[in-house]
Structures are given as structure tokens and as C-alpha cells.
């Protein structure tokens, strides 16, 4: 099997998995929300309501498509498209598992092992805000515009702290930006979260802000902005926005798992490699990564029903006056320790 064919198959599989996980995240969101509020949640479509995402998808497609006459039609359509595209693009650099061995050749379970992996992720994520901004602006609606403005300023504020917290990780992996190298350096139980707890907390908070999740869901605060940037959207274009948010959540969970929780590594991975065939260990490692991802998706939803939404000035103060200094000090301290004490 040629490498190109393998990568093509891998891209299709990752694409499908992202969409499936996003679809079932909507189900999980409703189910977890219900359980945390002592309710049962959707249980009518199929056993335990498992067909609910299908029903929701069909509903979204069948809804009337409304494009406001005062809106900029081209940009109005471009908004959700860009949002969805950027959400799906980030999955390209994530190492999903140990390399598979097919016909004596090793195939990395990663679409592109580029040497600027984490930089690529940060770049594409910051492109994602254009989807929200363009959509909010093209709607020609004050609530949509307010939501878009909030989204863009929030993204810009939190990206800095996020990048800073990543730098302290990069210092520890000899400056390699490749996600593969970062994951490899956390073999076994050598996870970054134990060495960089402060960076982890900063990154986690920023991930909440970047994915517009509660407590930082100001761009789409339904109580004050009637849904924010997606106020004017209907039918599947709204569906793309909602879906893109869940894909973003899935990808940021994957990034958190890769950066701080060892990615596909788990304790005893080398020992398993000696008693089991390599491919089975690879599949187990993929399962382990997905276990970590699902935990963080659950954590995202868990936090949503725990912490109320921030006020806008509190959000800005947290971003600029708390997280930024902490991230910078963390970089300094990490650098100092590495310089004076080595590894």
C-alpha cells in the first residue's frame, strides 16, 4: 500500500470520526446536562435516545433556509463554511496512535507529521474566528455583530496566554514543535501535566475560551444576545456553526491530551509491546487516546453546568491580567530551571 493511499484512507476515517464524535457530542451534551440536573434527557429516538443525533440532523436539513435580505449573501454563506473548514483542518497534525505495520512497512497514524505541528494548530484555530466574525458581520444584525465582536476580542486575548503556556511545554521537548515529538517525549507515565501543572491550567482555561464554551460563551450568550453571532442563521448553516463548535471541542480535547496527558501513551506501553503484536498495541494506544479525549469532552460539559458565565470585563481581566502574567512567569521559571539544573 502506498503512503498516499494510506494517508487518503486515514483522512477519510478521521473526517468521519470527527463528524461522528461531534454528532454524538450533541447527544452527550443533552444527556449529561440532564443527568447533572437530575433529569433523564432524550430517550425517545431509539434505545436510550441513541438515534437523537440522526433525528436532529434530519431536522436541521429540513428546516427552511432563511437568508436575510439585508445581509451580504456571499459572506453570509462563507461564515459557517470557514468555521467548519477550520474546525476540521486542525485534526491533520494530531498523532492518533503508535504507527501501524502493514506489509513490513510502518505507517504513522498521523495525516501530516509537520515540524511546526502545534504552531499549525494555533494558526488554524485563530483562523476559526474569521468564520464567526464574517458570519456575525454579514448577518447585519446588532446582536450578531456584538457576538462576533466579543468572539474576536476574546479569541485574541486568550490566544496569547495559550501560546505562552505551550512555549513552556516546547522548552521541555528541546524546542520541537512537532506534536509527534511532544507525544513521544511523554512515554509511559512521563506526562507533561506533572511537570507543568500551571501551564496545563492556563491552557485548559484558554481552551474553554477558544471553543466558546461556558463559562466563556459570551459570543453566543443566549440570554443576552439571543444566540449571538448565529442569531440570523437557520437550517444547516446554523447546524454547521453548532457542529463546528463540537468539532472544536473534540480537537481541543485531543490537543490537551497530546500536550499534557501523553497522547496515545499509557503506562506499560513498552511492556505490552513485548508480549503483543505491534498492531494490537497501536490499536490499544488509539483507544487510550480516545479515552482521554472523551474524558475531556465530558469535562467540558461538566464545567458547563458548574460555572456560570463570566461578565465581559471579568473575562478580559482574567485573560490579560491573570493568565498572561502567569503564563509568562511560567515560561521564565521553566527556562531558568532547565538552564541551571538541566533535565
Amino acid at each position: 500500500m502506498s503512503v498516499v493511499l494510506f494517508k487518503a484512507i486515514l483522512i477519510v476515517i478521521i473526517f468521519l470520526i470527527s463528524l461522528t464524535v461531534a454528532a454524538y457530542s450533541t447527544y452527550a451534551e443533552r444527556k449529561i446536562a440532564a443527568f447533572l440536573q437530575d433529569r433523564i434527557g432524550p430517550d425517545r429516538a431509539g434505545p436510550f435516545g441513541l438515534l437523537q443525533p440522526v433525528a436532529d440532523g434530519v431536522k436541521m436539513f429540513l428546516k427552511e433556509e432563511i437568508i436575510p435580505t439585508v445581509s451580504d449573501k456571499l459572506l453570509f454563506i462563507a461564515g459557517p463554511s470557514i468555521f467548519m473548514l477550520t474546525a476540521l483542518m486542525t485534526s491533520a497534525v494530531i498523532p492518533w496512535g503508535k504507527p501501524l505495520e502493514i506489509g513490513g512497512k510502518l505507517y504513522a497514524l498521523q495525516v501530516a507529521d509537520i515540524n511546526i505541528g502545534i504552531l499549525y494548530v494555533l494558526g488554524v484555530v485563530s483562523l476559526g474566528v474569521y468564520g464567526i466574525m464574517i458570519g456575525g458581520w454579514a448577518s447585519n444584525n446588532k446582536y450578531a455583530l456584538l457576538g462576533a465582536i466579543r468572539a474576536s476580542s476574546q479569541m485574541i486575548s486568550y490566544e496569547l496566554a495559550m501560546g505562552m503556556s505551550v512555549i513552556s511545554i516546547l522548552l521541555m521537548t528541546d524546542g520541537s514543535l512537532s506534536l509527534n515529538a511532544i507525544v513521544d517525549s511523554q512515554k509511559g507515565m512521563n506526562w507533561n501535566v506533572f511537570y507543568q501543572p500551571v501551564a496545563f491550567i492556563v491552557f485548559l482555561v484558554c481552551a474553554f475560551a477558544e471553543t466558546n464554551r461556558t463559562p466563556f460563551d459570551l459570543p453566543e450568550s443566549e440570554s443576552e444576545l439571543i444566540g449571538g453571532f448565529n442569531t440570523e442563521y437557520s437550517s444547516m448553516k446554523l447546524g454547521l456553526y453548532l457542529f463546528g463548535e463540537y468539532i472544536n471541542m473534540f480537537i481541543s480535547s485531543a490537543i490537551i491530551a497530546c500536550l499534557f496527558f501523553g497522547g496515545y501513551n499509557f503506562p506499560g506501553i513498552d511492556y505490552l509491546g513485548t508480549i503483543l503484536p505491534g498492531n494490537i498495541v497501536s490499536i490499544i494506544s488509539v483507544g487510550v487516546l480516545f479515552g482521554k479525549i472523551f474524558f475531556f469532552i465530558f469535562f467540558f460539559m461538566w464545567v458547563r453546568w458548574t460555572i456560570p458565565r463570566f461578565r465581559y470585563d471579568q473575562l478580559m481581566r482574567l485573560g490579560w491580567q491573570v493568565l498572561m502574567p502567569i503564563a509568562i512567569i511560567n515560561v521564565l521559571v521553566t527556562g531558568a530551571i532547565l538552564t541551571f539544573f538541566g533535565n
Binding site: I32, F35, L36, Q37, D38, R39, I40, D43, I201, W302, V303, W305, T306, I307
Partner: protein, 176 residues
Amino acid sequence: MQLTNRSKVVTKPEMTFVERLYLPAIVSGLAITIKHLFKKKATLRYPEVTREFAPVYRGMHVLKRDEAGRENCTACGLCAVSCPAEAITMDAAERQKGEEHLYREEKYAAKYEINMLRCIYCGLCEEACPKDAIYLTDRLVPSEFTRGEFVYGKDILVEKIDDRVDISKRKKSYTI
């Protein structure tokens, strides 16, 4: 000036460093929410499970028959008069020869309609009835698509001979 001795001095102490970190508070909040994940759910899956009604619950009406299966109602109109929502209408008719097994009294209701959308389920019709004919039961009025379907006639209200409605909860002395 102090008017009562119940006044309290309210203080707003400066938050300590740990409190200003917010992280301990967030963790304890997370612990509270995760506890609810395993709590007993308050929801009843309605069509499959119905909740238990109190004995005094007033739901859908029933027009009773006596032990021989004859309709109790004599179309006196007291229920319609007592109804504060004016939900009940009826037409009276005289019992003919050979209909003694159908109607207990010499006069009966040829038409008896309750508009379930007007009804406020106060139970005054039940109190007014001298013939033990109308009772409110613990059955729920089902939902319909049009308003017209909520005007219940005798076909729905009169209990079936082979499918009696138990109203012993409403009236202890009533047997059937």
C-alpha cells in the same frame, strides 16, 4: 438610629489569596455537580409510567351507570347550572317503553356534552349531582389536534358497561 435590636452588621472581608485563586471553589463546585450525576432522577417516563394521583385529584369526568348498567343521569341540569365555566350542555328526553334497561329514571340525557377546554375541573358538577351520575376521575384528558375534539359527548363520558370506571377513591360508599 437603631429601631430594633435585630440589626446585623454586614462585613465584606477582603478575600484571601486562596479564595482569589477560585480554583478550590471551582473544584468543590465540580464535586457538587458530579454528585448529581448519580442521584435518583426526578423524571417519570410519562406514557409508560404514570404518577400516582392523590385521592382528591379531579381529572376527566365520567357519567356513571348503576349496578344494572342503566345510566344514572336524569338530565336535571343541576350540573350545568352549577358549572362556573359553563362547560356543560345537555338535551333531555323521555324514556320510552322498552328502554327501562338503558336509563334508570323516566327522563334521561339524550345529549350530554362537556367542553374540556372550558372545564376548570372544580368538581362543582359532582357536588351538585343528586343522582350520583357525574364524577371526576383520576384519568387525564388526552391531547388533541383541534378544539372541536375537546367537546366530549356521551360516547366518551358515559362509562362502558363492560369497562366500569372505579370512583371509590372519590366516594367511599360507591361500589361500582
